[in-house]
């Protein structure tokens, strides 16, 4: 069974990759594995989401670590470190 994931990007990632995209990933995929899958696409995805770049992630609108498991219909966001206040 595959999971339908809504991916969203913000700030510099949004400028490079667009506002978001829908992906289908295998059950058991985590936030970190989703990022690796996006990096594997190459191009701007590989450049912006590469390991070693400061990228934060959120799962269903809450900050999430790489190990967080995805569910069908989840919303995953990738963005640079936040700079509000």
């Amino acid at each position: 069974m595959s999971l339908r994931i809504q991916v969203r990007y913000f700030a510099s990632l949004r400028e490079a990759l667009g506002a978001g995209e829908v992906l289908h990933v295998p059950a058991g995929t985590t936030v970190g594995a989703l990022r690796d899958q996006l990096v594997a696409q190459g191009g701007e995805h590989a450049r912006c989401l590469a390991r070693g770049r400061a990228v934060r992630s959120a799962l269903d609108q809450a900050m999430a670590d790489d190990g967080a498991p995805l569910r069908d219909g989840a919303e995953v966001a990738f963005f640079p470190p936040v700079t509000g206040g």
Partner: protein, 162 residues
């Protein structure tokens, strides 16, 4: 009605009136003996360069949820009564107000503490991003490790910049 009930957190493009917000907190609660407030302002210089304009982006939905969680955590840690948080988004200019945090409590100590706690928390964990216009063009503002350290003082290790 408590300030939480009328909506403690607002994300908006419009400016805000510190006096009106403090008055609303005060008028809603006769037991509030202290109000501490913080207002953040757009500076005209950053990292040695002139800043002529700033654009603030946020993650609608997550932002409100994140700050609601921070307010709940502040209520667990401090004896506070009313809370008001306003964060502006969109186009801002130097001198403009960006953020307001105001907290009431029976006595000053908890209001001071909670106000600083909420700002430290918001700086590193609320999804906002600043893009500033300089003579060399527009650039995204870098997160600061010092802000992570400020949150760590409260016993919260949640790295953002680092």
């Amino acid at each position: 009605m408590s300030s939480l009930a009328r909506g403690a957190v607002t994300i908006q493009q419009a400016d805000f009136d510190l006096g009106a917000e403090v008055a609303a907190l005060r008028d809603a609660d006769g037991q509030a003996g202290a109000v501490a407030s913080f207002v953040g302002i757009v500076r005209d210089r950053n990292d040695g360069t002139t800043v002529s304009a700033m654009e603030l982006e946020h993650y609608p939905g997550m932002t409100e949820r994140a700050i609601d969680g921070m307010v709940a955590e502040a209520r667990r840690r401090f004896e506070i009564r009313g809370v008001r948080v306003i964060h502006r988004v969109g186009a801002l200019r130097p001198g403009d107000q960006i953020v307001l945090v105001a907290v009431t409590s029976a006595h000053r100590h908890d209001a001071f503490q909670a106000c600083e706690f909420l700002m430290d928390y918001l700086k590193t964990q609320a999804p906002f991003w600043k893009k500033e216009t300089t003579p060399d063009g527009a650039r995204w503002v870098d997160a600061r490790v010092a802000d992570d350290a400020a949150l760590a003082r409260w016993g919260l290790q949640m790295d953002n910049a680092g």
